[in-house]
């Protein structure tokens, strides 16, 4: 009896152990399974954006061949954790939402299907230059861009007035205005958001920095280049002077500062309109917030902050239909209409932002014409900015070194440390770094 129990348990143990071990070290075979070339069938769509279920519905109503099933997933890091795990496990969706900065990471880890065979050249011509350049990597198109939110500043006009300053047009003026506003009102002209690596990256991008540059066959990493160091030095001066506050964005503390008027400005993007409105709509600040372009360093580079793309995981067995839906999502005015009022989206495809503007009902909350400012803020060159082949490494490194911002550490030293950790991590993963 005993021995039979033992052998049964032993057998179970072997079965349990062998299954995962067999998978260990070998890739899955999803890529070799046959794929239908006709764009028909079911497409599972993961999105964390609001009202995307309505867009899927509109697409289903517009044709009969493809049936899109919408599933809501968490945004940010949790969403990527879910997506990368699902791709590894083979139960990923057919269409996934990936932000620009995370796209190369998914490409270099071989988690996506290139869209070149499924998307026509004319479709690609419908997007603005900066967004196209960010979805084309190594000669392939890996995703279609949804929005292209220009990085910009939102100010409390009344607090600027109280300090007797105009909207700053250069960073030098911004620094002076920060001092004036702080002296007059005690408020901070901006917060320094150490939690968002892509936020600081955007500021460096504007000054002409190239954090990552894909050459012929190796990467150049320039996180601590002169342009970035100039930006870091400016923020260090403002932190030392106490005119900007080091606080992670989207936290309760950050929100409270806005609601109670301790924040005279927010460095965000076009989508911040919704983010600000939802936080301060009951705080009696109607008409006090205005949109403005980023202060200038002298060039005309227009960086993006945030922005999503739609990609097809390599495990999808229906990429043709998935690509059809992505095309609808990113280029069809009906997709934007269907989404309704879902924030101040500045879209990558030409001609669609007007549709979004039409649907956005809270423009009046702001003290100026925010959509005109979006146009101005987006008008500039992209400077061939590229996100790194594994920006997660840079993000972790930035969080690790920026723990004590504004209280004794030097941002310029921090950047060198982030550079070092990024190069180290990328080299370890086998990529060639110059």
């Amino acid at each position: 009896m005993r021995s039979s129990i033992r052998s049964a348990l032993g057998l179970a143990a072997v079965a349990v152990v062998v299954a995962p071990t067999a998978a260990c070290g070998s890739g899955d075979d999803a890529a070799s399974s046959p794929r239908p070339t006709a764009a028909t069938g079911e497409v599972v769509f993961w999105s964390s954006l609001s009202n995307m279920d309505l867009v899927a519905q509109a697409f289903n109503d517009s044709q009969d061949d493809i049936d899109v099933v919408h599933e809501t997933v968490p945004s940010g890091a949790d969403g990527y954790a879910k997506l990368s795990t699902a791709i590894g496990a083979g139960n990923a969706p057919d269409v996934a939402t990936i932000e620009y900065f995370a796209l190369p990471e998914f490409v270099t880890s071989d988690r996506l299907t290139p869209l070149d065979d499924y998307v026509a050249e004319e479709t690609l011509n419908q997007f603005n230059e900066v967004s196209t350049s960010l979805v084309q990597l190594g000669g392939n198109t890996w995703a279609l861009p949804y929005d292209a939110p220009p990085m910009m500043v939102w100010y409390r006009q009344d607090l600027l007035d109280a300090a007797g300053v105009d909207v700053p047009t250069t960073w030098e003026e911004f620094e002076k205005a920060g001092q004036a506003v702080h002296d007059a009102t005690g408020s901070y002209l901006a917060s320094f958001n150490a939690n968002e690596s892509s936020w600081f990256a955007g500021l460096a991008w504007q000054n002409g920095s190239q954090w990552f540059d894909a050459g012929e066959d190796s990467w150049t990493v320039g996180i601590d280049d002169d342009a970035s160091q100039e930006v870091a030095a400016l923020w260090q001066r403002m932190l030392d002077a106490g005119t900007v506050k080091a606080v992670p964005s989207f936290t309760d503390e950050w929100t409270a500062d806005m609601v109670e008027g301790r924040a005279a400005g927010v460095i965000g993007a076009s989508w911040s309109a919704n983010s600000i409105y939802s936080r301060v709509k009951d705080a009696g600040q109607e008409g006090k917030w205005i949109a403005a372009e980023l202060p200038s360093w002298g060039g005309d580079i227009a960086p993006l902050y945030g922005g999503s793309t739609y990609a097809v995981p390599r495990t999808s067995d229906n990429p043709a239909a998935a690509a059809k839906f992505i095309e609808f999502l990113t280029t069809d005015p009906r997709a934007i209409e269907a989404r309704g009022d879902s924030g101040s989206a500045y879209l990558a495809a030409f001609g669609l932002t007007e549709v979004a503007q039409e649907a956005y009902t809270t423009s009046d909350f702001f003290g100026n014409d925010i959509w005109a400012v979006f146009e101005d803020a987006a008008d500039g060159t992209s400077n061939d900015w590229q996100w790194g082949p594994n920006f997660g490494i840079t993000t972790s490194a930035m969080q690790e070194v920026l723990t004590d911002v504004g209280a004794g550490e030097e941002l310029t030293d921090d950047l060198s440390s982030v550079q070092e950790r990024t190069v180290d991590g990328l080299e370890r993963s086998g990529l060639s770094i110059e």
Binding site: G25, S109, P248, D404, G425, S429
Partner: protein, 312 residues
């Protein structure tokens, strides 16, 4: 079913085995446990161990080429152990444990001893009140405390400020003690119950003898009760130490509010970040194995010290 004679019952104190039926019954009851144990514990450990000896190597720019999965021996372990942030994580856990263990076990012991001497009526009420925080799930507890720590929002911070004390619980220096505070709040009640139960089980004759010998309540508590409940204290210490090594919930929640808490703050978070942020499952596996090994060694040492202490 047959009736058991009284004589037979008396004899059953001796090792007794029912020939035939016992094994089957035992197997029936043990199978679910072993099946789940294998599936959810042993198999993942072996899978992680296997993962930890491989690495996914990209090449060139990394675009359009399938990364190569290669056997790399102990390279992942070397990389993880030479990572400054991983090691700093262990230092943080050590500081956390140094602050947490004495504070929590100390206050649990004091409260248990107080309960042991208190009137029966209050005893019940206090037991319940002390245990209540533990009924709050860890994530919720952390969220509540994050609210209480947040400047500009927290009534606690505001009260301190109006009293002339400006405290930033999210600063690099205070965030670790702030975490300890959450854990103390959450776990003291639970450990009070363990220690109190042990105290209740102590033979009353011994207490009586102590009283007859002229020992006051303090003397009785320190010289009689505490040594007698040493095994229970040991269990508390063991669970709490392993719990400290597994520190994840509190820092993960605090990371959303304070930039002093990084995504790699403690070893467990380091492993999570490696797996899902840096997309390197192999390094994450190696890190997890290291954490498990350290936990294993630590529990062995604590059990050893414990049994020695009891024997002495």
């Amino acid at each position: 079913m047959t009736l058991i004679k009284p004589a037979a019952r008396r004899r059953s104190r001796a090792p007794h085995r029912d020939p035939g039926g016992g094994g089957k019954v035992a197997a029936l009851f043990l199978t679910p446990f072993f099946a789940l144990f294998l599936l959810t514990m042993i198999a993942p450990v072996i899978y992680s161990l296997c993962l930890s000896f491989f690495a996914t190597k990209k090449s060139g720019l990394g675009f359009g080429s399938t990364p190569e999965v290669r056997f790399v021996g102990i390279e992942n372990f070397v990389v993880v152990l030479s990572s400054e942030s991983f090691l700093t994580g262990f230092v943080r856990v050590a500081i956390y444990a140094l602050l947490y263990l004495p504070t929590m076990i100390g206050s649990a012991l004091i409260l248990a001893l107080l309960l042991d001497t208190a009137a029966v009526l209050f005893r019940r009420a206090f037991q319940l009140l002390l245990f209540l925080p533990h009924a709050v799930p860890g994530v919720i507890a952390a969220l509540i405390w994050v609210y209480l720590y947040t400047p500009g929002v927290s009534p606690l911070v505001r009260t301190l400020e109006s009293g002339g004390m400006s405290v930033n619980f999210f600063s690099a220096e205070l965030v670790l003690p702030a975490m300890v505070n959450i854990a103390v709040w959450e776990w003291t009640g639970f450990n009070v119950i363990i220690l109190f139960t042990a105290l209740q089980a102590l033979p009353r004759e011994v207490m009586e003898a102590a009283r007859v010998d002229g020992a006051g309540p303090f003397r009785t508590a320190l010289s009689i009760k505490v040594p007698l409940i040493a095994p229970a204290l040991g269990i508390s210490l063991l669970f709490t130490s392993i719990g400290s090594l597994q520190l994840f919930t509190e820092p993960s929640i605090l990371a959303t509010a304070s930039s002093a808490v990084t995504s790699t703050y403690v070893p467990n978070m380091w492993a999570y970040d490696a797996a899902f942020n840096r997309l390197d499952l192999n390094q994450a596996a190696a890190a997890s194995i290291i954490v498990a090994a350290v936990a294993g060694v630590a529990s062995y040492l604590i059990t050893r010290i414990n049994t020695k202490g009891v024997r002495a």
